[in-house]
C-alpha cells in the first residue's frame, strides 16, 4: 500500500481502484442476474413461445398463450377468484391485526417483548406446517366439527375445508404476522400525548379513535393491506392444500400448468399476468399513500 493510494483523513476510500470495486460487485451481481434478472427475461420470452410439451422452442414468437388465456372464460373466473381471495384475506387480516398492533404499539407491559415475539412467531413456522394446522382445525373431523358435534349443535359435518372458505381463513392467519409487523413499523407517529390532549379537550374515546388514532395509523394500515393482498394473490401452497384441488386461483393454475400439464408458455403467460396485476396494485398503493400524506 503506497502513500499515494491512502485515503485522505476523514473520507472513505472513494477513489480506490475500479478493479477492487468490480471484484466486490461481480459475485453478487452474477448471482442476482442468474437467479432474478435472467428468469424474468426468460419468463417474458417463454410467454410468447408456442406451446410444446415440457419446453418451449426458440425462434418463433406468438401470442398464442395470451390469446388462450384472454378468450377463455375459465381464466377470467380464475383471475376474479384470485382478486376476491386477495381482497377478503387483506380486509380480514388487517381488521384482526389492527388491535394487536395497536396494543403492542401502546402497551407498557413488561411482557411487551415476549408478546411482540409471540405475534411474529408464526413466521418462523413454515406456511406448509401452518396450513396443516388449519386442516386439523377446519377438517371434517377437525377441532370445529368435532366440537360442534359433541355439543350436538349440528347433525352432520360442516364443510370448512376443500373450499375457498378454508383457504381464506388459513391465509388470513398465515399472513397476519406480516400485517402486524407492517402496522407496528407504521405506527411510529402514534403518540399517547396527542390522545391525552384530545381527551382533555373533551373528546370521548370514540372521537379520539376516529379523529386521532385512525388517521395517524392509516399509512401503516394501508401498507399492511397491500402486503397481505400481494402475498395472498401470489400464494398457491395454501389455496392448493386447503382447497383440495377445488379452489382455482392464479397461483394454483400457474403451478398446474408448469408441473402437471407441462405447458410452460401458458404458465409463463399466466405469471406475467400475475406480475402485471401485482405491479398495478403497488402503483395504486403509492398513489393512495401520497394522497393520504398530503
Amino acid at each position: 500500500m503506497s502513500a499515494a493510494t491512502l485515503p485522505a483523513a476523514g473520507t472513505s476510500p472513494a477513489n480506490a481502484s475500479r478493479g477492487i470495486l468490480l471484484m466486490l460487485l461481480l459475485p453478487g451481481l452474477i448471482a442476482l442476474a442468474i437467479t432474478f434478472l435472467l428468469p424474468l427475461i426468460w419468463l417474458l420470452r417463454a410467454s410468447f413461445a408456442s406451446s410444446t410439451m415440457g419446453a418451449f422452442s426458440g425462434g418463433n414468437w406468438t401470442v398464442q398463450s395470451y390469446s388462450a388465456v384472454l378468450f377463455d372464460p375459465f381464466y377470467w373466473r380464475i383471475a376474479w377468484n384470485t382478486l376476491v381471495l386477495g381482497f377478503n384475506v387483506a380486509i380480514f387480516a388487517v381488521i384482526l391485526s389492527y388491535p394487536i398492533a395497536l396494543f403492542l404499539a401502546r402497551t407498557e407491559s413488561r411482557f411487551r417483548g415476549v408478546l411482540t415475539a409471540l405475534a411474529v412467531a408464526p413466521l418462523l413456522t413454515s406456511s406448509v406446517v401452518r396450513t396443516y394446522g388449519w386442516m386439523v382445525i377446519l377438517g371434517d373431523r377437525g377441532v370445529i366439527n368435532s366440537t360442534l358435534q359433541s355439543l350436538s349443535l349440528t347433525g352432520g359435518v360442516i364443510r370448512l375445508t376443500n373450499n375457498s372458505f378454508g383457504a381464506t381463513v388459513a391465509l388470513i392467519e398465515i399472513l397476519m404476522p406480516y400485517a402486524i409487523l407492517a402496522m407496528l413499523s407504521g405506527f411510529g407517529r402514534l403518540n399517547t400525548q396527542l390522545e391525552e390532549a384530545a381527551a382533555m379537550l373533551g373528546a370521548n374515546r370514540l372521537r379520539v379513535f376516529t379523529r386521532i388514532i385512525l388517521p395517524l395509523s392509516a399509512p401503516g394500515v394501508l401498507t399492511a393491506a397491500l402486503l397481505v393482498f400481494v402475498l395472498a394473490i401470489s400464494s398457491f401452497v395454501t389455496p392448493r392444500l386447503m382447497g383440495g384441488g377445488r379452489v382455482f386461483v392464479l397461483g394454483t393454475e400457474v403451478f398446474n400448468e408448469a408441473t402437471v400439464t407441462l405447458n410452460w408458455p401458458l404458465a409463463a403467460a399466466l405469471s406475467v399476468m400475475l406480475l402485471i396485476l401485482f405491479s398495478s396494485i403497488i402503483l395504486l398503493y403509492q398513489r393512495a399513500l401520497r394522497a393520504l400524506e398530503t
Binding site: M1, L6, P7, A14, L21, M23, L24, L25, P27, G28, L29, A31, L32, I34, T35, F36, P39, L43, A46, A55, I100, F103, A121, P122, L124, T125, S126, S127, V128, V129, R130, T131, Y132, G133, W134, M135, V136, I137, R141, G142, V143, S146, A170, E173, M176, N204, L231, S234, F236, V237, L241, F255, A258, T259, W264, A268, S271, L274, L275, F278
Partner: protein, 264 residues
Amino acid sequence: MQSNPLLGRIAWNTLIALLYLFLLAPIIVVFIISFDTRQYLAFPPESFSFGSYVKVFQNVKFISAFWRSLVIGAVVGLVAVSAGMLLSLSLVRYQFRGKAAVNFLILAPFLVPHIVLAVGIMLVIAPLGLLDSYPGIVLAHLGITIPYTVRTITMSLMAVDTRVEEAALVHGASPRMVFWRITLPLVRPGLIAGGVIAFLISFDEATISLFIVSVKASTLPTEIYHYLEYSTDPQIAALSVVLILISVGVVMAVEKLIGLRKAL
C-alpha cells in the same frame, strides 16, 4: 364508549387474547395432535403417545429430506453471506456510476412474487439440466436470500466507525489485514444474522422449491407438501413440532449470541 373504564379494559384485553389465540391456533393444535396415534386426522386425540414422533424419525423420506434441506440451507447461507458482504462493502464504502441500478437490483426481488420467480428460474435452469439438482435449488434460493443478507450486513457496516479502519491503515496495516482483522469482526453480528435469515428462508421455502425439485433434491417443505396431498396423519404434526422447536432453537441461539435487536 364513555362507560365503565374497567369494563372497557377487560373487553379490550379479552379481544387481544382471542386474536392471539386465533394467530397461534394452528401451532397449538398441531402440538396437541402430534401425540395422537390414529392413522387419520381427528380431534381431539384418543390417546397420548410419542408414537408419531418415533414414526417420523423412522421415515427415511423425511430424514433424508431433512438432511438435504440442512445442507442446502447451509450452502445458501454461506454463499448469500459472502456475496452479500461484498455487495454491502461496495454499496456502503464506494461511490460509483450505476449504484442506483445495483441498489434496485437488490431491492427488486422483494417486489416480485415467488411463484413468478419460480417459473422463471425453472425456465432458466431446465436447459442447463439443473432441475431437481443441488446446484439448481441453491441457485434458486440465492436470488431470494441475497437481498436479505445485503440488508442486514449493510446496516452492520454503516454502524462501523471508518476511523478505526483508517487508524489501522495509518499504522501500517495492509488493506487486506484491515478487512480481516478490523472490518470483518466488527460486522460479525450482521454476518451471523444474515446467514441465519438466509438459512431459515431456504430451509422453509416451499413455493420455488416445488417448481425446481421433485425426487433427488427434494427439500423438507416439498416432501411435507406432497405428503399432505394424500395423507394428513399425525406424523406430519410430530414433524411440524420438531421443525418449530428447531426454528425456536435457532432464533434463541442468535438472541444469546448477538441479540435479536442487533440482528434485525
